[in-house]
Amino acid sequence: MRRKNTHTRDNSQSVGAGKENNKELPVEEMLWGDLADIKALGLYPPPRLAQAYVLWQKYGKTFSPAEALEKGTLFPELYSPYPY
């Protein structure tokens, strides 16, 4: 049974417009149009731009309750005085 390709937008607008659409498409292609084009644009798989390294938090000094509520955290090492 040929499954009607209902996921992608109107095929004429999708990136792989010229692709013959009668065979069953793998999910990525159904969702992304022509995967080759998407890969050419560098969108998939997404490049890894950075590697986050977060220190394991140790319990130490803490703010007083009043100060903690006002500053938004109990731990001085997590407090950022900058408005944004």
Partner: protein, 85 residues
């Protein structure tokens, strides 16, 4: 800031500290110092809530309000009526 708001402020502060310690302890379940701090804060918080509720009425329905008639829950100010200055 009248007495009532001061007590509410204290409860809010203690509750915030309890939440912060809760989040910390979720990832550091063995931390003795944090555990001691949390239990100390919890006792202070419960005492503060009890004091407040016995004077000004319930913060939560299942709190420490004395078992009086009439039903207290509908008497107190609604949260949006309280000035948290």
């Amino acid at each position: 800031m009248d007495e009532r708001q001061l007590m509410l402020k204290e409860i809010q502060q203690l509750e915030f500290v309890a939440v912060e310690l809760n989040l910390f302890l979720d990832t550091h379940p063995q931390d003795q110092a944090a555990l001691r701090h949390f239990y100390a804060v919890r006792d202070k918080l419960l005492a503060a809530v009890k004091r407040y509720e016995q004077i000004y009425g319930p913060l939560t329905v299942v709190g420490f309000t004395p078992k009086t008639c009439p039903w207290q829950w509908i008497e107190g100010p609604w949260p949006w009526e309280i000035e948290y200055v």
